[in-house]
Symmetry: D2
Subunit: 393 residues, 4 copies
Amino acid sequence: MSDEATNPVIAMLGRRLRLAVIGGGPGSFIGETHRMAARLDDRYEIVTGVFSSDPGKSKRAAASLGLPAERTQGTVEAMLDAEAARRDGADVVAIMTPNDSHFAYAMAALERGLDVICDKPMTNTLEHAVALEARVRETGLVFCLTHNYTGYPMVRQARAMVQAGELGAVRLIQVEYVQGGKADETKPDPVGPWRFDPQRAGPSLVMGDIGSHAHNLVRYVTGLEVAAVSAEIGSIVPGRRVHDYGGALLRMAGGARGVFWVTQAAAGVENSLRLRVSGTRGTLEWEQEVPQRLTFKPLGRPAELLTPNGPGALPLARRSTRLKAGHPEGFLSAFANLYSDAAEVIAARRSGKAADPLASVLPNAFDGLMGVRFITSALESSAAGGKWVACGG
Amino acid sequence: MSDEATNPVIAMLGRRLRLAVIGGGPGSFIGETHRMAARLDDRYEIVTGVFSSDPGKSKRAAASLGLPAERTQGTVEAMLDAEAARRDGADVVAIMTPNDSHFAYAMAALERGLDVICDKPMTNTLEHAVALEARVRETGLVFCLTHNYTGYPMVRQARAMVQAGELGAVRLIQVEYVQGGKADETKPDPVGPWRFDPQRAGPSLVMGDIGSHAHNLVRYVTGLEVAAVSAEIGSIVPGRRVHDYGGALLRMAGGARGVFWVTQAAAGVENSLRLRVSGTRGTLEWEQEVPQRLTFKPLGRPAELLTPNGPGALPLARRSTRLKAGHPEGFLSAFANLYSDAAEVIAARRSGKAADPLASVLPNAFDGLMGVRFITSALESSAAGGKWVACGG
Amino acid sequence: MSDEATNPVIAMLGRRLRLAVIGGGPGSFIGETHRMAARLDDRYEIVTGVFSSDPGKSKRAAASLGLPAERTQGTVEAMLDAEAARRDGADVVAIMTPNDSHFAYAMAALERGLDVICDKPMTNTLEHAVALEARVRETGLVFCLTHNYTGYPMVRQARAMVQAGELGAVRLIQVEYVQGGKADETKPDPVGPWRFDPQRAGPSLVMGDIGSHAHNLVRYVTGLEVAAVSAEIGSIVPGRRVHDYGGALLRMAGGARGVFWVTQAAAGVENSLRLRVSGTRGTLEWEQEVPQRLTFKPLGRPAELLTPNGPGALPLARRSTRLKAGHPEGFLSAFANLYSDAAEVIAARRSGKAADPLASVLPNAFDGLMGVRFITSALESSAAGGKWVACGG
Amino acid sequence: MSDEATNPVIAMLGRRLRLAVIGGGPGSFIGETHRMAARLDDRYEIVTGVFSSDPGKSKRAAASLGLPAERTQGTVEAMLDAEAARRDGADVVAIMTPNDSHFAYAMAALERGLDVICDKPMTNTLEHAVALEARVRETGLVFCLTHNYTGYPMVRQARAMVQAGELGAVRLIQVEYVQGGKADETKPDPVGPWRFDPQRAGPSLVMGDIGSHAHNLVRYVTGLEVAAVSAEIGSIVPGRRVHDYGGALLRMAGGARGVFWVTQAAAGVENSLRLRVSGTRGTLEWEQEVPQRLTFKPLGRPAELLTPNGPGALPLARRSTRLKAGHPEGFLSAFANLYSDAAEVIAARRSGKAADPLASVLPNAFDGLMGVRFITSALESSAAGGKWVACGG
């Protein structure tokens, strides 16, 4: 990263971290993304993986990724056992499987002393979330939940500015995450994919897929928990079995108020995650489709356009930026920031050395738990006709 | 306007409409705005006015506006009577007084057979709104409610595109109106101004001031009524006696869903009224701070940037645009579109000729009634903990 | 305007200025624009005009504009004589005819002691420009050249910031004015219109139409003259008899360097006038299609977005803004700013009172002369294969 | 990449390409960038490198990058010899040293049969450029010049649209590359760095650093060569020994006209590379600071916003995009596209298989030669007072 000439993992361990992958075969969006994120800063070596529940498919995937055939196993259990038995076994497991399997795989990895990087939402049920979060705490292992939007430098700048008091007390929050991928009503929902199967995708597809990101983004930037929610969540596309929109009003701990809107049925919209946070001293505005800009509108002064490594960038943003100002980084760099921070924290834990404190702001199992809690409460409110429901915040 | 070489009022009546003004003395934002809007297209001659409840102040105002002293009266009643008695008396009254007086002045004007242009919200109470709307219908007079944002060419383009089916069936709506004018917590609210007096400003300042605009914008563009609302409306700034934020979830007639957010306490934000409407075939996005652009994101085709008089502009937008593409018009031109359309409709009524049907889409007393009904229902929902309340739509 | 409750013309003269119009019949873009600009701030009363060289057409135009038939004359000469003979004759003449007639009409108006508002380019020839500029100086009358882009609040803000030293010494300038109105090669240029007749439109259509605006904008904002130019100007569309593009490198008095690019043949572009000025302390960026924003990029601090009446707006910008921050004004308001400033200066001259010094920054005959000089020099350079030619700056 | 589940290098060679690096020690911007670009798509394994002319520094750099000490050499010569002698020696050399050494290192690598990836400008002199280009042709080896901006998906989309005729015949071109890194006049230029030493940085710092990118971008997108140039290139900051701005007018082969402006002295500007290309059927606009958008303004239809993998994306853009629409990639992904395309072409050459034809549009030695030729001609024109000078296009 910008201020450091050295790879902290190599500096601490003398080698890269060994990463085993679960899920995300070649051609899968999320699998490619995780692997690119793991490679970008050269802190991991992918040593093995189970890329499919079909062992043959999984082996072919491993080969196409250049992984040694002799280290490839047919099942997750077998892989975890084999790695645990090796002297040079994996240090870390990255889980990018359908939501309903996160819990079991994460628990299995923790049992074997492996640090975990896991896709969101953490689990499908609140019971699993509570249990997993407790287990992570007990083990002391690192658990990084890939709420990747928290990896954008300008999201981190927003968090740092709030923490530094540049907004004053947070009063008002708007978050929206609008996509169009499930908008086309002329095509019926596919029957095969796990996402369209309520049993596997969790109680609310839209909330798990993107609502969890929106909720976590608010918490990450403001440092505030949602105290209570009044919501309506449902399906706007006729015949759909899973949720495709959700709206909510938020009462934050401490009294701020907010509004929340997510949908995957907005025809033509690509990936419009937007946040606006107003405090007593100014307002921040950010949108994911142009993530290289953060607008700060201070009370009584002209609006400012902040950029990664531009003037006014704070340390948390600077350490999350690889390039000079004006050279935009994007989604992959942000995702890689999570991987790289996790690597630094893991290497520190394993070497007994100290990680940069700024590396430890990673989304973790507690964040995952709060996300599942929020979804649960929002669904309860929706079922109860908009009644305010507490979220544990 | 662009396609017509002639002033339709002069063409129909052989003269401009004679306008009497109530409220909005020199230096008042809304007063100057109404008068500039009335002048821009040369369809009105301001002949007299009562600009203040203080007769001396009002007379000085009239003089500074170049109005003849001999035609100036000390009270609204006296002015209306005097004009009614003149052969060349006013045709139209424009009301831009505090909200609690709209009803009485409008009724008084209607009694005397005058057409009315009135600021929003139409009334402070539902009873008054019902009575006024009924009276307008009975008289057959023109009543134009200055929901000025409906005058923007690109808002009209949005409406025309929805009507033409370019969005398909409307499914999802987001509207927000965020301002920062009441954000500064270091200064206590002033005691004098009527706006900060709940008795005069109506049951909810933020809802009357800007919530009414947001609500009407949704209806104007989509052609859909709000069927039910779940809301929270309140004061976020400590010590404030009037409302400064409101959030709501919307169920539209026909099944579309929406989210609504308004506040005047977002420090540093200027006048951010934004609308996003998604239908089965695409999404429209518009924001008031750059009103000269409308983004259309059709399903499966690249997003389009529409501009006034640019390619793809529909007749309703074209007739609301004075200049060639690329020459931005703004708030005043939009406001003037309401005045000019009202003038055309009034002149047609008075001359027995036909106005362009596109001139008749003016916000009217029914729109005003629906606005007051929406505010009333939203406040009821808020008081009932988010319960869904019907809005009559 | 925002800070003044009163109409300065009525305050100084007790009445509006009486305006006579030459050219710009109903339906003509420039005619409607001038008249709306004259009306917006209520400082003029249009009393008569010659709208066409065809007397019948001109009379019908006057009638459709609501002007009294008895004051309408068939020719400019007759109108000027008749007005000069009236006690309540016109104070000011506004000229919006084809370029080749500006000189004669302006001289005729000046002869009769009338102040003049004249469209650009001031004249077609350098000889006429020199003579007219000298005549204006001798008479002491007001001559306002409608370089309307100087009326935008954010252009004025840019000028005020340069003058206040916020940019330091100006070093680098980029100006471009790109339109697409003459891009369609499938349609041959029309034969009738004066614009396509090199005898009437002047030596270079693109330079007169928009190059003059670009040149004046640079001078207005930076306060610097162009010392020398190296240019190529020509016709890119096959078969065209008039120029449709021009590029130039600029050496400014004092040593700054610049680049200049204008064309009317960029298919699909609307009205993209853009300016970037860099000084030792920062850079300003403005574009006409979103005129309500000025971007300031100070050295070592975050970029700022300045808005009319927003924080940081300087007095010259504030007096050119009618509305609260966040309520965009556009092209017409900017054009009206020239008319209104001219009115204030004219009323002051006629009443012997003092105008606001900020009203006197109007584009005038000297600016017109420098514009014609620049075009002349650029054409000479182009003909001489890019040789640097002095511009008198 | 998006459409292919497999790594083409592993598919063709059964392994990654072995890459040796020259220059760009840890902490160097360009070194880190090249290495991240090489890693992102997993087509290279960095096996060794000479990272500094100081052997001790170079060894420490290698260690910090996790490279084996036993394979590290003290000089480029020694490294190239050692790799040539190994059975598993490097396949490819990446050169990221000061400009004056590109020629010698590239020639040395070519002598040993290694493919080359080289930073721009290719050489400092025209003689070297001619010789190197000829040598590359003779050897048949791959030579990739890292004009990285050609790697952006939307730049490639622009090229593909021009090639597909969507613009018609190209008529008008604007390119500008404006930076602020050398703007601060309060700090004298440093004495040590090679960039500020005209002997090492080449005849024109600004033209080599960024002018070469601007020139190549025009050629890449339009497919047209510059036929002749009229230019002024110089130093605007007092006391500077190297050039910091350059302006030029362009005559393209086939008759199109263009304007070119580059500077590194625009205080506060970050990295503003912008391109506008107008053809008979429409205009394309792109800017590097928001590279994820390409604006297409077709004649007579609304402007379109194109995005990577969004609707309308053509194959060349799609294969250069890793993620779903709305997930922005940035500078590193674009840079990696060059590395990955080069890898595919190199692997194809080495395996005798066929690369995707779209992979072969890489900037190569001929592009490098044309770039040096352009700079040479522009400097000649500048010295000759703006005279038009042929560029060999």
